[in-house]
Amino acid sequence: MKFLFNLLVLVILVVTLFVWVQLPWIAVLVLVALFAAWMGLTRRGRQAASVTGVGVSTLKQRLGSSSVVVIGIAGVVGVLVALLAMGEGYAETLQKTGSADTAIVLRGGSAAEVSSVLSNDSIVVIEQAPGVARDKQNKPIVSGEIVVAANLPVKGGGPDDDGSVQVRGVGEQAWALRPNAKIVAGRSFRPGMRELVVGQGAQRQFAGLQPGHEVKLGTQTWDVVGVFASGDAYDSEIWGDANVIADTYRRGSSRTSVFAKLTDAKALDTFKASLASDPRLQVDVDTTLNYFSKQSEGMSKVMRIMGITVGSIMAIGAIFGALNTMFAAVATRAREIATLRAIGFRGVPVVVAVMLETMMLALLGGLLGGLLAWLIFNGWTASTLAAGTTGQLAFTFKVTPGLLWEGLKWALAIGFVGGLFPALRAARLPVTTALREL
């Protein structure tokens, strides 16, 4: 009988947790409202409220052990939110790169820009394709670009500590194609010159990328003449004139990719169809938005799995910590609870009171953990070698409201599990034994 009861509790627990994870915030709000109504309007509810009140008023005497629940859960939520914020920041940086009305053209079957090659003939054909927007001089807004890599000394590293940075040779229309990118210091490079503008992220990461400095790129020395900011993945790149970079890297007139501004987002199909039907070309076409988002998929999935694995293991530790504290709390209040039941309080208010107390502590822990993660990690800069690029991608941790909400849900779930068993024990304790105890 007891075994069956425990089994039932376990099944209910698993189902509740499963439903809880899926629950949107609206449903949670409704749940809270229903619960509050029950507490205020029914006899049982009012009983539960008063028992909870008694429990909460004794919290002060159990400050040490109660803080274990709060801090344990704060630790779980803090680490979880921080790790998820890393994945979120990474994905966001790539996802906001590009737009729905610019297309990227790569050689067919190329997984990334760096492995693609497009001949000059193909580029000319692509420029004239229907769907491409034109500027005031009626020139197509298209930029044939070349992506290469360069080793540069890392800021704050040893003498031999080089990192890889993505170098992009761009055409005249590159700025028109990327309205986000703006020069914030110095000036833009002049066509035909060995001049570079560096992204803000790249400047932060590598040494000697101030305007006025010289860097060695390929076999030649280049002048850094400006800094640009775009707030997305381009920030980690260095830009120069495509023709000069192609010469330096012995690429002749070929390019790695073509970026084209479309007349509007709907023109993609026309543009794509016309390139697909052209026998001179064998290319893949996608919007830049899609292309960059896709690059982030694998890595952000890995980061998310890592966060959830670490969070789960920590959560197990925190659940048992909470169980411990609440069992102790119930044990010290065994007589008090037994007295309540002897004078006519039923089991439900007692269970609710203990659970509510644990959940309140958990909520506090969740808020604390989320706040810490936000204070410490929001805006923290990190970098990694991103898939599909040749250089390091700088990104900032993003502690979003969504992540904080997810953290709170975890906290409450831990509180729920940690409170349930002690609550059941409190309600099932034989009154006579409990009254006689100590």
Binding site: V79, D160, I313, G317, N324
Partner: protein, 389 residues
Amino acid sequence: MKYFHLIWAALFRRKTRTTLTLVSIAAAFLLFGMLDAVRTSFDQAGKSANGAQRLQTGSKLSFIDTLPQGLGQKIAVVPGVKSVAYANWFGGAYQDPHNQVFTFAVSDNYIDQYPEVAVSADARKAFLDTRIGILVGEKLMEKYHWKIGDQIPLQSNIFPQQNGSKNWTFNIVGVLHPTDSSVAFYGQIILMHWKYFDDAVMKGYNNGQVGWYVTRVNDVNQADQVAKAIDALSANSDHETRTQTEAAATASWMKQLADIGLIVGSIMGAVFFTLLLLTGNTMMQAVRERTSELAVLKTLGFSDRGVLGMVLAESVLMVLLGGVIGIGLAAVLIPGVSANSGGMLNLPTVGAASWSLGIALMLVIGLVVGAIPAWRAMRLNIVDALAGR
């Protein structure tokens, strides 16, 4: 040691509480074991006795720049060089262009540079005899259910053949069996002939270039000098090189990938801080409950210091018990995680270094946690304690 059963009995005085605390400690150390495995796998990549003998020479400009094949003969005659091999990135993908399979086009003697990657004599011979032959890592063989003798199509996402097609066909002639965790990577890659690659690739795409050279040196202690001598060969040319030991080269890649030390460090900091609080609280409770028992012990003649030692021993024992269970669990789970990650993770199992670091941590945490309760127990006044004041 003669008081061991007393300490043990004290520890399990409250079974539920101790069990719950033990599970918490075990969870913390399970995490420690796994994260430390990740950290060591990053730290140790490329660091082995064989790895120390190998130098990697690549273009100084960037990792996508190539070097002339002729450089190999010059490197071979640098004093201290035992043998030199070369390889090129092929950029293979199987079935879907996004399903990457690391594929290198290598010189005939490339595999000799890696004695810790076992290849049977038959496979070696078959590889040399077959123009379109490939050697495949054992993990890849399992993953795609390939057999020796299979003919498989690979796409290159960089290199087209003479006819313009990027679909290449190869014959599997042998399997690469890495015998050391530092070269576990070789279980997941494909090696093809550089000669065939250079002949078959579309004109203008490779032109006899190689991606990097792998050199073995006679004497590990001379590795740095040899590296400098190799770089001096092409100084001031249009293909300057950078030569590093395998360990240094791998470390530099890993560092660019992620600052694992920092991430692991901050997670573990949060975990252990929480753990300290949790177990500290348990120990406080345990001692508070037993005040009268401790007083009885003192009445019987146990010295203040003896009581202090017993409480400290109890907390250390508790953390040790939980910790060993946790790390043990990590040791059991890690191979499963590696196997299920589909080759993305290759974690070494918990090594001696992780164990000793873990046990040191357990001792420290046990002592810190037990300090205050033990101090209280030592200062206990018999009369007050027995009177319940």
